[in-house]
Amino acid sequence: MSKRVLVAMSGGVDSSVAAARLVEQGYDVVGATMKLFCYGDDVPDRPCCSLDSINDARDVAHTIGIPHYVLNLEDRFDLHVIQNFVSEYSRGRTPIPCVRCNSFTKFRDLLAHADALDCDYIATGHYAIARNGELYRGSDPTKDQSYFLWGIDQQVVARMLTPVGELSKSETRAYAHRLGLTTADKEESVEICFVPNDDYASVLERHLPADAPALSPGPLVTTTGEVIGKHRGYARYTIGQRKGLPGGFPSARFVVAIRPERREVVIGSVEELAGHSIRLEELNWLAPALEAGDTCLVQIRYRARAVPATVLQIQEEFLTLALTTPVRAITPGQSGVLYRPQGQVLGGGVIG
């Protein structure tokens, strides 16, 4: 009896190829597409039945000869991801819902389905490598998605299969072409799945009352406390942002801080944007926990380079890191992911 694996199929090329490779490797593969949200329910003639991504995944599953199901995790996704997304912005932070989705929805709720289906493994199309219970960066440095995976339960890593983790994106596409998968040339999705047109403020507007502080005008202040204008609601700003700020300064201005308790958006120079230390909360470890004095690399946003850091202080709830060289725009709500130099993910936390 071959080992059974539940593969999460989004309808994109990566998870399509992940599923196909598992079939080739002789696993008993079951495909599942998670339905995570629905904004189409007030359009009676266009229910979510016609979602293209679901159809794509189903089509691929048929091509490679595996069963495919749609699993509705809307309630769970709303609870753990969307509500968190809204409350983080309300706190003046810039969340990464994909991290929450991996931690709570994909590798916990979907795993419960996998368990019920007697699956030995769970697989995704992530560019990351799970090996011997440890997690590593994907081989393609331009595609590596390990940054989004620091929050999953450590024991899950041993049950994860990452069939495209050692491929480059072009290898993935070539593989999809070879199998004649309809998703081979599908465009990359770079948006947050539940945020249409990259307009996250519209999602906040949908979920928050009209007079919510996060969306209401407040003072735009300098780092010395001088009020220089009004902003349109602090949730519409993010640390490091340059666009949409008033001009007339000798040098470029950036958002350097958001103070939700006073509704303030603080602007400053590029020097004032740099940080030398990082506090991480909601810690999770995928390797033995670090101790004070240990060194590692820390990556503070998806596309940033990981930089050397030393653990200053570590508690149950948080840790602080000193950076060897200052980094730009340390943004509360983003993830700080800890790596070994050779690419192993040690763990991570939410920047506080």
């Binding site: 229910p47 069963p67 709303d78 019920a116």
Partner: protein, 414 residues
């Protein structure tokens, strides 16, 4: 691996060999012609259409010139309801469609379309047994609506409506009556009561004809106006070159369905009742929906407390049993069935409802396999629901459906 067991005949059926044989000459050979053509090829095709009309008419107790072929049940329902509303508008009457709350989506959506055209829709409630409330019907009839539509046999529960009585009330009130008889044809006797319905929908693929063919029986041509427009075929009610082979298939399938109805009903009734009894022995808290109501013999709707229908169906499929959640949306809508909610089935229970349906190919072995597979699947799915904290989700679901309960996190309202 043993061959899978198909228990979803209410969704669709395989094409019967007799039907395939009857339709093939109309795709190739000498009878492929356009039935509107004046030459011999056209005449051969026309003859096929007319033969099919006679066969359908006989099966439903109508006249051949009352049979209007459509692309299927959905189109026939739309033609019946939207077409009747348009006809009402033409004669200056109220553009109002009265439909039962347990109708198929085709009827509900068509009634909704009447609203978009500037008319109104009225939903008739049903009782706990799934039958319509006659007081509500009387009240609706008092407003002289354009059309009343009540399905003959419910596609999820199998509940049979008192069609003769409903049709009589409508006739007395001078209101056009439409019935969706898609699940009734071949399963319950149609001809006697069929005479009293002005408009009646049937579908081919539920009775062994291919998908893409159905018919609306139109006993009064003034009752409906065309909803698509073209070359005047089919009395101008449904223009477009006829699907000749499909019509021939429907004719033959309807003929067979009519002839075999009594014996098939008797056999399927035994299968259904045996399956219900054995499932209940294995899963004692299982609920058979509308058990006390008059039901068509081929449908068995059950609800499993504490289980999700989507998970049940997935696990059943992996174990080789093809069933359905009734509402036929396989892409993850976890809305519980509107039919069950309309009957007052509790929201939680409705989420765990699945439908088994039988057809002429069903056997005792199918029931044996299902009875073997269902109980362990129920156990697994109930455990899963426990892990995923389904109760929490349900409260939210109810809030979304406007049925009370507001479990939104503080500061987050939508």
């Amino acid at each position: 691996m043993r061959p899978p067991v198909y228990l979803d005949y209410a969704a669709t059926t395989p094409v019967r060999p007799e039907v395939l044989e009857a339709m093939l000459p109309y795709l190739t050979a000498n009878s492929f012609g356009n039935p509107s053509s004046a030459h011999r090829f056209g005449r051969a095709a026309r003859a096929g259409i007319e033969m099919a009309r006679r066969q359908v008419a006989e099966a439903v107790g109508a006249e051949p010139n009352q049979v209007v072929f459509t692309s299927g049940g959905t189109e026939a329902d739309n033609l019946g309801i939207v077409g009747a509303a348009l006809a009402a508008r033409d004669r200056g009457a109220t553009m109002c469609a009265v439909v039962s709350a347990v109708e198929h989506k085709a009827v509900l959506a068509a009634a909704h379309a009447v609203c978009h055209l500037g008319g109104r829709e009225v939903l008739l409630p049903v009782d706990a047994g799934g039958q319509i409330d006659f007081t509500a019907l009387e009240a609706a009839l008092a407003d002289r609506p354009a059309v009343v539509s009540v399905m003959w046999v419910n596609n999820e529960t199998g509940v049979i409506q008192p069609i003769g009585e409903i049709a009589a009330r409508c006739r007395d009130a001078g209101v056009i009556f439409h019935t969706d008889a898609v699940q009734a044809l071949g399963k319950v006797p149609l001809t006697a009561n069929g005479l009293s319905c002005t408009l009646l929908t049937i579908s081919g693929h539920k009775i062994g004809a291919p998908k893409g063919i159905g018919a609306l029986i139109v006993r009064d041509r003034k009752a409906v106006e065309a909803i698509i427009h073209g070359g005047g075929q089919q009395f101008g009610i449904r223009p477009g070159t006829e699907n000749v082979a499909g019509a021939v298939a429907l004719g033959r399938a309807a003929q067979l369905a009519g002839a075999e109805q009594a014996s098939l009903a008797e056999r399927l009734c035994l299968l259904r009742d045996e399956m219900a009894a054995r499932l209940r022995r294995a899963v004692p808290d299982l609920v058979v929906i509308a058990e006390e109501s008059p039901r068509a013999p081929h449908l068995l709707s059950i609800a499993v407390p504490g289980a999700d229908s989507e998970a049940l169906l997935m696990h059943l499929d992996l174990a080789g049993i093809a069933a359905s959640s009734g509402s036929a949306c396989s892409t993850g809508a976890v809305e519980p069935s509107h039919v069950l909610l309309a009957m007052g089935v509790p929201y939680d229970l409705a989420l765990g409802a699945i439908r088994f349906s039988f057809g002429r190919e069903s056997t005792d072995d199918d029931v044996d396999r299902a009875v073997e597979v269902v109980p362990p699947v129920v156990d697994k799915v109930r455990r899963l629901a426990g892990v995923l904290g389904r109760a929490e989700g349900r409260t939210r679901g109810q809030a979304d459906h406007g049925q009370g309960g507001t479990a939104e996190a503080a500061g987050i309202g939508r």
